[in-house]
Symmetry: C2
Subunit: 233 residues, 2 copies
């Protein structure tokens, strides 16, 4: 791109990355000041700043005011995950999407849900259990709790046609998100719903969202065997 005479901030970033790759700057080493790099490369400090920000965002370097920039002594593996709406995920794989509501009812939130939201005490919430299908076969079972105080509209929604997943993602943007991944063995009910052998290992994607400390929803998405979650970046 901008391959002219001017250096783009991506060029600068890649050049510094290159220096880290080749060992010119090793873990813990301090890099020159932005201004010096700018002069050396013949670009503006703002360009170096953008490049450094990006390297910092991707976890390769650490920056501190007055302290300068240094290569992370203990790098982290950092990646961005995109989790689409389940319907879209199925459709993009070329399969036909299906949806089936299993149960919808108010119930007092159990301990796990109260803890996920960081609430003090239990309270009644809407529990929605549903099955996402891919070409007619079970794909993901979701066990969801919705806080009716934050989303009063759910009292008028039956979730028989549109999934809570879809409705919430479209209508309830969040300000805070908590994700966790773990594995569980299929208990009799799960193996029945997902049509798997009892005891099969299943990946669970647990998601909890808030708007400014007000809990929206928490959901366990229990996937079928063989399901893999991939990074896009």
């Amino acid at each position: 791109m901008t391959s002219d005479s001017r250096l783009s901030w991506r060029d600068v970033r890649d050049r510094i990355h290159e220096h880290i790759l080749t060992g010119r700057y090793g873990p813990g080493d301090r890099l020159p000041r932005d201004a010096d790099i700018a002069e050396e490369l013949g670009c503006a400090r703002s360009t170096v700043q953008r490049a450094m920000q990006d390297l910092s965002d991707s976890g390769l370097v650490e920056r501190r005011r007055k302290g300068g920039t240094r290569v992370r002594a203990e790098p982290v593996t950092r990646a961005t995950l995109d989790i689409p709406i389940t319907r879209r995920e199925v459709e993009q794989s070329g399969a036909r999407y299906g949806y089936q509501l299993i149960r919808r009812r108010m119930a007092p939130a159990p301990r796990g849900v109260v803890a996920a939201f960081g609430l003090g005490a239990s309270r009644p919430m809407l529990r929605v259990e549903a099955l996402h299908l891919s070409d007619g076969r079970p794909y993901i079972f979701e066990d969801r709790w919705i806080c009716p105080e934050t989303s009063p509209e759910v009292n008028d929604l039956d979730f028989t046609e549109e999934s809570a997943n879809e409705w919430l993602v479209l209508n309830k943007p969040y300000t805070r998100l908590d994700l966790r991944f773990y594995a569980v063995s299929a208990n009799p009910r799960l193996s029945d719903l997902l049509e798997t052998e009892p005891g099969a290992a299943l990946l669970v994607i647990e998601r909890t969202t808030w708007v400014d400390d007000a809990p929206i929803t928490t959901v366990k998405a229990i996937t079928t065997p063989g399901y893999q979650l991939l990074t896009g970046s």
Copy 2:
């Protein structure tokens, strides 16, 4: 922060986010041009640009030249994952870290590894199997393949004291990363190594790295039951 008279790009971002939250702009809607928003809020276009970039990065809006900015019609749940070095992960939990090499030998790469790297044919690679311990108990078992063409130094490393995980993360920065998560049932060997019941559900974190299309390493990190992977953002 910059709470003075001047608006920071974070303020602008939050203000626009607020408008999306309250439904002033719904999914698919087009937002005003940056310049108009800048004028309305009394700040520079560059400030709005930064705010919009951030909203775009977090998957809330989509921007296209000439096309303008619009709220994503089908939002994605986007999150950033940080996976630290295993030693550090254990130490940060307050436990004592231990490491044990199980096996280290050259072997022809099996199909799965060849596929993960996107190679045409199999070739000999270094396989390193090792156990990470937390307070003396198994924590993560890693089954790793290293490409000796890309990292010839590994021929002189025995990985009995320092884990391949640590050495690679410190000495082999990558330019491309592939992450995948899934669940497996513990087979007899795994349940023996990890001291779990046979058939236990285990979360697997699979990581593959490259430097400019040259494969570095691919590793299956098989965690013990109860292990959870969390987002930091």
